[in-house]
């Protein structure tokens, strides 16, 4: 299963990179060379990807990722105007807070950390799966939120999305 998942995704990347060699489509040589190179890549990485590779081939998961794009983009827009405001005024109240989260595996932690790095005012410093917490540098802590009880004031809806996407 890891072989098939890696093969299909490397072949899709190859098709994206070589489109337009024959008119607007692909020439036959490029397609055959793509099969060979994708097979080499998939064979060499078959032990790295892991046993849960079947989720990369799940169409429902792809639709969820596509639905995730507007949420992330809206978060990034808010984050950028927030940072712009902070750059102009210079009023900051930074600090590192401990955020308890309810996640299960490494993929969920990765999605959660990367999302809240790109969204308003927060930057992940460390993730501790053994104590179920993220350490987050928060650039403008509201008064009274130095020890947040959940991830709701820090990350908004992203914990729910991370739990759904990384399953």
């Amino acid at each position: 299963m890891p072989f098939i998942a890696a093969f299909i995704w490397s072949y899709i990347l190859w098709l994206a990179l070589t489109a337009g060699t024959n008119g607007l489509l692909w020439s036959t040589q490029e397609l055959i060379a793509g099969v060979i190179f994708s097979a080499i890549v998939a064979y060499t990485t078959r032990n790295i990807i892991g046993e849960k590779a079947g989720r990369f081939l799940n169409p429902i998961k792809w639709l969820e990722w596509i639905a995730y794009i507007p949420v992330l983009f809206w978060g990034m827009t808010k984050a950028n105007f927030h940072v712009a405001w902070l750059v102009i005024t210079g009023k900051i109240r930074p600090g590192i807070v401990r955020v308890p989260v309810e996640l299960e595996n490494d993929a969920q932690y990765t999605i959660m950390s990367n999302s809240i790095t790109l969204t308003p005012g927060t930057l992940t410093i460390d993730a501790c799966p053994e104590e179920k917490a993220l350490y987050v540098h928060w650039i403008d802590i509201p008064p009274g939120l130095e020890k947040p009880e959940s991830s709701e004031p820090v990350a908004g809806p992203f914990e729910k999305w991370a739990r759904r996407l990384g399953r």
Partner: protein, 123 residues
């Protein structure tokens, strides 16, 4: 001037504003962590809009001329965007963790929970 030119110019303006803002944030904030905020968020957002401008331009030229070169240009810039989106927050996280582990404290911090955790682990 067609509608595509206006769209491209709008995207480029947003991209330039936020890229420049990210560089100014490097000089405006007091320490490593706050500088990382400005640098990572603003330059990633600015580069997204630069890629969108190039993509719109490529689609418009593909529609106008039918040259497959422009199809390649659009697709390759999207691949570059995906690579940048995957790597940029991870790099910022690596720098922040390394800076904290090598002993640089956040300036003007009202709370430092990570230092308390590390201090408990070192005892």
């Amino acid at each position: 001037m067609s509608w595509a030119s206006y769209l491209v110019c709008t995207f480029l303006a947003i991209s330039l504003i936020f890229n420049t803002l990210g560089s100014i944030a490097l000089h405006r904030f007091p320490d490593v962590y706050t500088r990382l905020h400005g640098a990572t968020k603003c330059t990633t957002f600015g580069t997204i809009f630069a890629v969108l401008a190039v993509f719109t331009h490529a689609l418009y030229r593909l529609h106008a001329t039918g040259d497959p070169k422009y199809l390649q240009m659009g697709l390759h810039s999207l691949v570059a965007l995906v690579a940048l989106l995957l790597t940029n927050p991870t790099g910022a996280h690596a720098i922040a963790k390394a800076a904290h582990l090598s002993g640089y404290k956040p300036a003007k911090a009202v709370i430092d929970a990570y230092e308390e955790k590390l201090g408990g682990g070192r005892e």
